[in-house]
Symmetry: C2
Subunit: 215 residues, 2 copies
């Protein structure tokens, strides 16, 4: 069964796409225009009642929330493609730790920057320079902690690439690209080496090439 | 090895406490006064660099982020106590789905209500009635989706109690208690039945009895 992935142009669905490529799982991307509100269409709300992407559909098995989906496929196809959950329960614990840090410490600030800098005019509100400044400062403090962590291990959860790293790809790509704040990465030696490593993986380059950002 | 759990008076650490009790894992609670800023002490920051609770310490194995910790212990002690991750990979996928819904759709609004209604004066800022109103409306819309879901399955991830349900306990307890908005639960038939079921579990009653809220 081919896995359908809804909303490939957008950042959160790209977590799923890069994961499926790393796991060598066949999939079909189903475009959805969030800027036209297609994620609020009644048919789509039957799949995802909160009206958000990504959604995956695998026969009649439906999942949503990008970080739930990547955990599911990384576990279901554990022995296929790249191991993304660590080799032991203790390694997986660290993967979970840093996947949650991404979701709760890193993402809120980078998401605010994305919304303000990239999408405000498209979504019809004016950018708020105070929110941008505050988000940048808070993200900087998070990246200082990442710098310390990455001075001790090559990747976030340890010396192995995992879902915890992969989950940072889509929004950090905006940060160094369309948001124009590459300095936040390049000014931190270990964060920069980590970013160069994970963003040059063939899986991620393939996602960027196949599914251009909406802006 | 006894698992140390930091910050038992507060809501997020209670996710961990109730999970450890369900899994019949021995633990020791280490009090921490967040209202005095003890989570920002240098010694504590060595354990949790972002300065937040909970943290668990199991010998020299340290974890943070409540939803990472509960996943780790539910997996490590899979065959002990209550099964909290479902029996199959597909059931676990649904647990992950609804655990992420709790984190990203439910928690932001109930957390805002908690902060505004319970903690604003203690933390030295005045409550913002607009934030309260908006959070209540948004939480109501999320609970409408829960009502629909819980009309089809007894628990969020299916017909089995799991981490997805458990993760809702601490902040929903505030909602029906100190926040004073019990009507949001009781006015929704299936949500109400679900809440009565999960909140009456002996594990949760034990947590409430042993570790009173700070306010």
């Amino acid at each position: 069964m081919v896995v359908k992935v809804y909303g490939p142009a957008f950042a959160s669905p790209k977590r799923v796409l890069v994961c499926l490529i790393e796991k060598e799982i066949e999939f079909e991307a189903v475009p959805l225009d969030l800027l036209k509100g297609e994620h609020k269409d009644p048919e789509f709300l039957k799949l995802q009642p909160f009206g958000a992407v990504p959604v995956t559909q695998d026969g009649d098995y439906v999942l949503y929330e990008s970080r739930a989906i990547i955990r599911y496929y990384a576990e279901k196809y554990k022995s296929q493609g790249t191991e993304l959950l660590g080799k032991t329960i203790e390694e997986r614990g660290q993967v979970e730790n840093w996947l949650e840090v991404e979701a709760h410490n890193f993402n809120p600030h980078i998401y605010n920057l994305t919304l303000q800098v990239m999408f405000s005019s498209k979504l019809g509100f004016s950018r708020d320079e105070n929110v941008i400044k505050e988000s940048e400062e808070k993200l900087g403090r998070v990246l200082d902690i990442y710098e310390e962590r990455l001075s001790k291990s090559k990747y976030l959860a340890g010396d192995f690439f995992s879902l915890a790293d992969l989950s940072h790809l889509p929004f950090t790509q905006y940060l160094v690209g369309q948001i124009g704040k590459e300095y936040m990465i390049t000014s931190r030696k270990h964060v920069n080496a980590w970013w160069n490593d994970i963003s040059s993986r063939p899986s991620w380059q393939k996602v960027l090439q196949l599914y251009p950002a909406p802006l």
